[in-house]
Structure formats: structure tokens, C-alpha cells
């Protein structure tokens, strides 16, 4: 396609603003100085007046032309009706398979009148024209193969054939109405006369019995551009690959993105409808850089259960509870507090399916702590309702992006039709030990500090499709100066949820009835890992379908790792 840039994009010189020309002139003069520092480009100089000023007009026009060209590439502008070159924009939209629906044809019905009651056959190729066959050409609209047969008056019609029966008009003429389809440049109204090619015998007249329908109105480029944007936008969550690319584009700060679909091992929200067809489900696991937050919460003492309980309203999506302290200093032992999870939408995400998503309510339950003398360690107070309360400080790591991504993906513009999308975090493997045993050559030193930083960065950045590999640890150690790595000694466990147990959705609210909730909580088994080769687990809840189901799952598509930097240790061993 050859584009006339001058007449389509570059404005007439009279429309170019003086400010634009002066700006260009100054920039051109500065540009020329680099090569010709002595060249006199001032106004009144020969070069300045005879070349630079006219050239400034041309370049200013080109700049405006380029702006207009860029505008034609920006479909938002086109959708708003700002179009400088319709031919170009039309071709450009063609790249997105968006075309005007010129092939959607006009339709109507023609009445063919004969002077004899006979059987007639209309060839499939017959063309009808309203103005002698020049424009507005119509063809027979036939549902079945073959031509169109017009039977005599009263003859029954055959099945699955293009047939019509003549009607006796009572004036010695016989007619049949046949549907036609074609293109219409101007409105054909009822009564408009038509001709046929080839002409059938005994035809007296061919007339339109109704105003013809144009079909879909031709769509403007602006409308097509808007459709393009909508197509690209909504299609972006249509599959695993496009969902990942869409999120990579929209949220470049995500370190890992992994959509899992119905049928994937880790997808626990699979279900079938009444017809036995699997519903479309997509879990989008996302991960960004975790941040550590501290929050003070007020626990209410339940004298029957002899525990404190509080519903946690933590920022972001909590990933790991680092500590719970009474007040701000006395640490609560890890076996004296529990986190419970309860889904807020059992239909969308039940039990552990809601883990690390916005559909998970979390409750902190803390044992009443006493010293050897039986006195309370946790000091309490009373709130205005007379409840005995205690203040706890929760320190936790949270992912701030999960809720942000969820808000975007849940919007009607993005969420794919017929697919239930759940945005959640990855399931972390939390390390409690990470010891690298290495050797070094005599007289050399190993930069364990740098190695620790690299290992920390590597492990905490992992997420599908990248899983843990000893090779990266060995690389880091070699780079730090080690001569060999003998073992990466790890102890870790899968953290199914930030919670220790799951409460049934229909069960008691712990803040209302802690005692009953205690009896209802279902605790998933612990999946411990004691060697680095076990850091790529695949496991799903064996109790799925039973009352004790928790719907826990882990596999390559939803695995990530949480390693505290202080846990990374190095042990130098003697070379044998």
C-alpha cells in the first residue's frame, strides 16, 4: 500500500503554528552546530532565510504528520473518532482480523408472477437486479442444495428441497414468493420491479413484496477500533498462556505468574454441572515481593474454651506468620497459638482452595498462658462491653499484589466469559533449615555473605515454571569461592495455608462460639521435606470427597518458597 503522506498526514503550511516552526528552527540550528559550528543560521543570513526557515516548516509539518500517524496507531484515539487516514486505519485493523461486515448481505423477498400454472425451475445461479442488473444484485436464498423448483398450484412440497408452490392469483396469473440475498446500494422498497438473468419462461413480473433489509449497518472505523480494543483486552484471559502474558503486561512487578486450569493436578475447584460437563475454572497464582508488616490485634478471652480469639484483618494477602507476641515483647510460643481459616465463599473456593486469596477469613486463637505458679502470663483488660481482652502483636509477611491483581481480573472487562477465575498466592514451602556444606581449597576464602544474598534472592524469587534446583546453589557457592558443594541440607514443610486448620463454611464462627469451632476445625496433614530433592512435591488431598476433606494441593504450578535469610547457614567441611 502506497500512502500519500503529504496529503493524508502533513498539514498545510498555513496550519502550522509559528511556535512549532520556531521550535523546530532552533532545534535544527543546534543540530547543525555539531557538524558546522561556524555556519551562520541566523535570520537574515542567506542560509538561515533560504534554507533553514523553509526546512523548519517542512520538519514541523513532518512532526505534526508523525503525531497524526501515531494517533492512527493508537486505537483509543481511533475509537474516539480521531482518524487521519481511513484507508490506513482500515488496513491496520485488518491485522487484528477486524473487517467491516460487507459480506453480511441484504435480504428480501421477491414475488415472481407467471402467466401459466406450470412447474418452473430457477437455476441456482439466477441473479435478480432492481435496475437492470447493474447494481443491487440478489441471488436465491436457498437452504438446500440445487436450484429452486416452483410447483404447480396445489402440488405438495417435498422435504429438504428448495421448493415453493404457485399461488393462483385469480386473474389468470400465478405467483410464488422466493427469498433472495445480495448487496443493496440503495433501499429497495415494496413494489420495486426486478429483472432476472437467466429469464425463466412465462414470467410476467418480478417485484419486491417488502422493503428489503440492509442487514447489519456498515460499521465505522471508530466502532471497529473499539471492537479491536475490546477483543484484545477480553481475549487476554482466555487461556493459560494469554492469561500469563496479560498479567505480565499489566503487572510487571509480579515475580511469578502461574494459571492452573480445570484438569490440572493442583486445581481443587474442579466440578461438574448437572450434565456432567466440567465447569471452566482458572486459579491464577501470582507472587510479588513479600513485605513484612506488623499489626496489633485485640483478642477476646473465651472462658469456656480458655483461649483468646480474634478475627485477623491483616493488610494484603498474608503469606507467613513470623511471630505473635503478647503486647509488643513477650513472644507467644508457636505451639500456643493457631491460625484458622474459613472461606467466605464456599461455592467459589472451599476450604484450602481459598488459601492465599481474598476469600479466606483468618482467626487467631491463643492459649491462655500461665507460669509455673499458675498465674497468667498474658495481662488482660476489659473492653467497653465487659469482655476480657488482651493485646497481641502479629508480625507477618504479606503479598501486596494478590488483591490488586484480583481486582483487575475480576472486572467484567477482563474476566473471561464462562470461566470462574480465582486469584491467589502460590503455596509456599517454608524452610526451617538451610545449610550448605561446602569445601574450599587451602589458602582461599569463601564469600559466604555474597553467597547468602544470592541464594536468598534466588529461592525467594522462584515460582512456576522455575522450581528449586541444587545447581543454582552450587553455582552461587562456586562464584563465592568454594571448591565443591557436598550437600544442601534442608528441612522444610509445605504451608497449605497461613492457617493451621480449616473451619467448615457452615460451621461456627470462632468469635461467637469458640468451643464449637474447636470441635469442627479440620487440620491438614503436614508434608515435611528433609532433603533438597523433595523440594518439588506433588500432592493432593487424599480425603477429597470425604467429610474430612481440606482440598489441599501442591505441584509445580503452585509451588513457591519462603526462606528467611537468617536461616541460610554454611558449613565448611574438610576435603577428604
Amino acid at each position: 500500500m502506497s500512502t500519500d503522506i503529504i496529503n493524508t498526514y502533513i498539514p498545510p503550511l498555513s496550519e502550522i503554528k509559528d511556535e512549532a516552526v520556531i521550535s523546530v528552527r532552533e532545534r535544527l540550528a543546534s543540530l547543525l552546530i555539531e557538524k558546522w559550528p561556524d555556519l551562520d543560521t541566523r535570520p537574515n543570513s542567506v542560509f538561515g532565510d533560504l534554507f533553514l526557515t523553509p526546512a523548519s516548516y517542512m520538519v514541523a509539518g513532518l512532526e505534526e504528520g508523525m503525531n497524526r500517524f501515531m494517533s492512527d496507531l493508537d486505537l483509543e484515539n481511533v475509537a474516539n473518532g480521531v482518524i487521519w487516514n481511513c484507508d490506513f486505519v482500515s488496513s491496520y485493523l485488518g491485522n487484528f482480523a477486524i473487517y467491516n461486515r460487507t459480506t453480511l448481505q441484504s435480504t428480501g423477498v421477491l414475488r415472481i408472477r407467471f402467466n401459466a400454472d406450470e412447474e418452473y425451475f430457477l437455476d441456482r445461479r439466477t441473479k435478480f437486479g432492481a435496475d437492470g442488473g447493474v447494481t443491487n444484485l440478489f441471488s436465491l436464498r436457498m437452504p438446500n442444495a440445487g436450484g429452486w423448483t416452483l410447483r404447480k398450484v396445489g402440488v405438495p412440497l417435498g422435504a429438504y428441497s428448495n421448493e415453493a408452490v404457485l399461488v393462483d392469483a385469480g386473474d389468470g396469473t400465478y405467483f410464488a414468493d422466493v427469498p433472495v440475498v445480495g448487496t443493496m446500494d440503495y433501499q429497495i422498497v415494496a413494489g420495486d420491479s426486478h429483472t432476472a438473468d437467466p429469464v425463466s419462461a412465462n414470467v410476467i413480473s418480478i417485484t419486491a413484496i417488502q422493503d428489503f433489509n440492509f442487514g447489519a449497518p456498515p460499521e465505522s472505523l471508530a466502532k471497529l477500533a473499539e471492537k479491536t480494543r475490546q477483543t484484545i483486552y477480553s481475549a487476554s484471559m482466555g487461556s493459560r498462556g494469554t492469561a500469563r502474558r496479560f498479567l505480565e503486561k499489566e503487572f510487571p512487578d509480579l515475580t511469578a505468574i502461574s494459571p492452573s486450569l480445570s484438569g490440572d493436578a493442583v486445581m481443587m475447584r474442579d466440578s461438574t454441572n448437572a450434565f456432567g460437563v466440567a465447569d471452566g475454572r482458572m486459579d491464577v497464582h501470582v507472587k510479588s515481593s513479600y513485605i513484612t508488616d506488623t499489626q496489633i490485634v485485640i483478642g477476646i478471652y473465651d472462658s469456656v474454651a480458655d483461649k483468646f480469639v480474634v478475627k485477623l484483618e491483616l493488610a494484603g494477602t498474608p503469606v507467613v506468620i513470623d511471630s505473635v507476641t503478647y503486647g509488643d515483647s513477650v513472644s507467644v510460643p508457636s505451639d500456643s497459638f493457631y491460625i484458622w481459616s474459613k472461606t467466605t465463599d464456599a461455592v467459589k473456593a472451599s476450604m484450602a482452595s481459598a488459601s492465599y486469596s481474598k476469600y479466606e477469613d483468618l482467626y487467631l486463637v491463643v492459649d491462655r498462658l500461665v507460669n509455673d505458679a499458675g498465674d497468667d502470663i498474658i495481662g488482660t483488660d476489659h473492653d467497653t462491653s465487659g469482655n476480657r481482652i488482651a493485646m497481641f502483636t502479629v508480625t507477618y509477611k504479606q503479598d501486596p499484589m494478590v488483591s490488586v491483581v484480583d481486582a483487575t481480573v475480576s472486572s467484567s472487562d477482563v474476566s473471561p466469559v464462562g470461566v470462574d477465575v480465582l486469584v491467589k498466592g502460590f503455596t509456599p514451602i517454608v524452610f526451617t533449615r538451610f545449610n550448605v556444606k561446602y569445601t574450599k581449597r587451602p589458602g582461599t576464602t569463601v564469600g559466604v555473605g555474597a553467597a547468602r544474598e544470592e541464594i536468598f534472592s534466588y529461592i525467594n524469587g522462584l515460582g512456576h515454571p522455575y522450581l528449586y534446583s541444587d545447581a543454582k546453589i552450587v553455582d552461587a557457592m562456586f562464584y563465592a569461592g568454594a571448591s565443591d558443594v557436598r550437600e544442601v541440607d534442608v528441612v522444610a514443610s509445605v504451608q497449605w495455608s497461613i492457617a493451621d486448620g480449616f473451619l467448615p463454611s457452615e460451621g461456627a464462627d470462632p468469635t461467637d462460639d469458640l468451643t464449637t469451632a474447636l470441635t469442627e476445625v479440620i487440620t491438614p496433614g503436614t508434608l515435611g521435606i528433609s532433603s533438597s530433592s523433595g523440594l518439588k512435591p506433588s500432592f493432593t488431598d487424599p480425603n477429597t470427597g470425604y467429610p474430612s476433606q481440606t482440598l489441599i494441593s501442591i505441584g509445580p504450578r503452585n509451588t513457591t518458597y519462603v526462606l528467611d535469610k537468617t536461616l541460610i547457614e554454611f558449613t565448611e567441611i574438610e576435603e577428604e
Binding site: 509559528d18 516552526v21 520556531i22 528552527r25 540550528a29 561556524d38 555556519l39 551562520d40 541566523r42 535570520p43 537574515n44 543570513s45 542567506v46 542560509f47 532565510d49 526557515t53 523548519s56
Partner: protein, 134 residues
Amino acid sequence: MMKGLKIEFGTGGADLVTDQQVEGKYAAVQNGLVNIGTIINPKSIHPTRGTELLLKGLRGELVSRTSARHAANFAALNTLVFSRQNDPSGLSDSERLDTIFLTLTSFAEQSMQLEAVFTMSDGTEVGVTPDLTI
């Protein structure tokens, strides 16, 4: 040192000399002379470029030596201001116009002659005698 193509001014008008160049203060003086003889056009990208000297002559407003001298003085002043506004930064004093004197030496029915003296910022002078025939 600024360099430009040379223009030869004469009683018949101005000719472009494509194989010669003017440099330094002569380039500045040549630009000044072009400005004096250019009719000001407020609608151009340089609305203050040029003077009304030639325009006044064409309109028949230079009816006396006094009015001609008066118009010449304004032309000199406007040219000096425009020149300074468009001097590039870093221009040496020897190339920067400091004063322009237009002295009326001849005044006839269809023409007048001015003697132009350009003084540069370093004190050097260049004198020329343009002829403005109407």
C-alpha cells in the same frame, strides 16, 4: 567565527555570490543590511524581523529629509535589537553589533542614500553605503 554566503548590494538590488563567503563581523553587518531593507511582517515566524523603512518609502511617507532621517533611525534601532535577540550564545565581541548609525547622504524624488556605520562590541567599525531606490 560565523560564516555565510556573500550578498552583493548594488543600485539594482542584491545579488547572491555563491562562490564567496562573508565571515565574522562582515556576516553580522550583511545580516544587518538585509534586515534594514526587509519589510517587517508581523505574521511571519519572526514578527520583529525587518524594518518599516522601505515600506514607508513605498507608501510615500518619506516626504522630507527629516522624515527620511527619522525612519532611518528607527530602522537602525530595530535592526540592532533584532540582531542582538538572535545572536547565538558564545558569539565573540568582534562579531556582535553594538551600534548602528544610518546617516542620510542623499535624498531625491525616487531614491535616497544612507551611509551605514556598524560598530562592533570590540570597538571596530564597518562602514557601508546602501542605496535604497524606490
